[in-house]
């Protein structure tokens, strides 16, 4: 069996300037925070980040934004990190705002081999601009396209050595979706256990999705 358990340095080695990176979590709950610190330290830049939000100034995705490592942010909400707004205004940061449910479905579509999904969300708003609209059974939908990434950084509560992951409470959010949608998936788990210790019924991300796992 290939060993998936690596150190944080080994894991971060895969992240290069200019990459597109999905980062799990919701307002930093479920975000692999140690990976954020490691990326700040590593100083990779020109990143495209896909995440639910812009985090807080000192927490979650916000750390990367404040350290000016992010070129483009694809998220649903950035209001709790004023630095996002100021970098948007100064033109340093490009943002693509996506309705939260659409963001979840686009990531899921990317990971699940779908060419897109039809959603009623955003019809009649600026969200529909530049997108194809399709009427099904008399109702208008927007065709939203899949999102994929080079790397997904997900935060788990427990992981096993095969990469099976378990997320506690509200830390699940975007993590299981992102774990399906990137070329390389790196999980930060608060605790790593032996294979078989997570009940097969309780696995929330099957290990086949996970390339590397770090105890954080």
């Amino acid at each position: 069996m290939r060993n998936k358990v690596v150190t944080i340095e080994e894991a971060m080695h895969h992240i290069k300037d200019g990459m597109t990176i999905m980062i799990g979590g919701f307002m930093a709950a479920g975000t692999p925070e140690k990976f954020m610190d490691a990326l700040v330290k590593k100083g990779v830049k020109d990143l495209t980040i896909i995440g639910n939000d812009g985090g807080w100034p000192n927490k979650g995705i916000g750390k990367l934004v404040c350290n000016k490592q992010v070129k483009k942010l694809i998220a649903s909400h950035v209001g709790l990190n004023p630095e996002v707004g100021s970098q948007m205004n100064s033109g340093e940061l490009e943002t693509e705002l996506v309705p939260q449910g659409t963001l979840a479905e686009r990531i899921r579509a990317g990971g699940n081999g779908l060419g897109g999904i039809l959603t009623p969300t955003g019809v009649g708003t600026i969200v529909e601009e530049g997108k194809e609209k399709i009427t099904v059974d008399g109702k208008v939908y927007i065709l939203e396209k899949p999102l994929k990434a080079d790397i997904a950084l997900v935060g788990a509560s427990i992981g096993d050595k095969k990469g099976n992951l378990y997320y506690n409470k509200a830390t699940k959010n975007f993590n299981p979706l992102m774990a399906t949608a990137a070329e390389l998936v790196i999980a930060g788990a608060e605790k790593i256990v032996e294979v078989g210790e997570i009940d097969s019924n309780d696995v929330m991300t099957p290990g086949l999705f996970v390339d590397y796992i770090v105890e954080v």
């Binding site: 909400h77 449910g101 979840a104 969300t121 955003g122 708003t125 969200v127």
Partner: protein, 216 residues
């Protein structure tokens, strides 16, 4: 009772036993305080669970359990956690009986603008666009005017959150239903006259034949 309490208390009366409800940030959150004892209303939190409970006591916060604003919360017995695609599947799929949100503007067609003001910092729509499109009943709870300026307009001029989805508007002045034929004032707070409401409203509205006193 202050204005916000009046509004929140009246909104609570719209909820029925067994309802699944999503409350927006701010004033809508207060609605939970006015649910009658013994009535079973389940609150959904779009970051990934149903069964949202009270705020935790100080020192009892759980980093894995926050609401959509990133604030520590608790859950009630029978709560369930899920990922963001399930969370918005619940919302978009019509499994939320009511969503209660604030507004910048609402208009005669039931259009809602509550997510951006051009030229100002744009926080992002978060889950609002999905909620307004997906919930069975969309209740706007807000102060009737913004510093004396009407918010209930003939036509919204801010970018929309959703087109034609608002069912009901509850303010400190009264209750309005948004129907196919336009807005109908169905309840009036006895502290105001119909004339007061007209002066505070840009939209044209009809006064219900059986106009009632606002239940507070």
């Amino acid at each position: 009772m202050n204005v916000k309490e009046i509004i929140a208390k009246r909104v609570a009366k719209e909820l029925k036993d067994g309802d699944v409800v999503n409350l927006g940030i701010g004033l809508p959150t207060m609605v939970a305080n006015y649910i009658p004892e013994g009535m079973d209303v389940t609150f959904q939190s779009e970051n990934g669970f149903v069964g949202l409970g009270q705020a935790p006591e100080e020192g009892q916060e759980d980093k894995d359990l926050v609401n959509a604003g990133g604030q520590p919360v608790t859950v009630v017995p029978g709560a369930a956690f899920f990922d963001s695609s399930v969370s918005f599947g619940i919302i978009r799929g019509g499994h939320v009986d009511a969503t209660v949100l604030g507004a910048l503007q609402v208009d005669e067609k039931g259009n809602l603008a509550n997510w951006m003001v051009p030229g100002k910092m744009v926080p992002g729509m978060g889950g609002a666009m999905d909620l307004v499109v997906g919930a069975k009943k969309v209740i706007i709870s807000m102060t009737h005017t913004q510093k004396g300026k009407p918010k209930i307009l003939k036509v919204c001029n801010l970018p929309l959150t959703a087109a034609g989805q608002v069912n009901m508007i509850i303010t400190e002045m009264g209750v309005m239903q948004v129907t196919d034929k336009g807005i109908v004032l169905t309840e009036l707070n006895p502290e105001y006259t119909v004339e007061d409401v007209k002066n505070a409203t840009e939209a044209v509205f009809v006064v219900a034949e059986d106009l009632k006193e606002m239940e507070i």
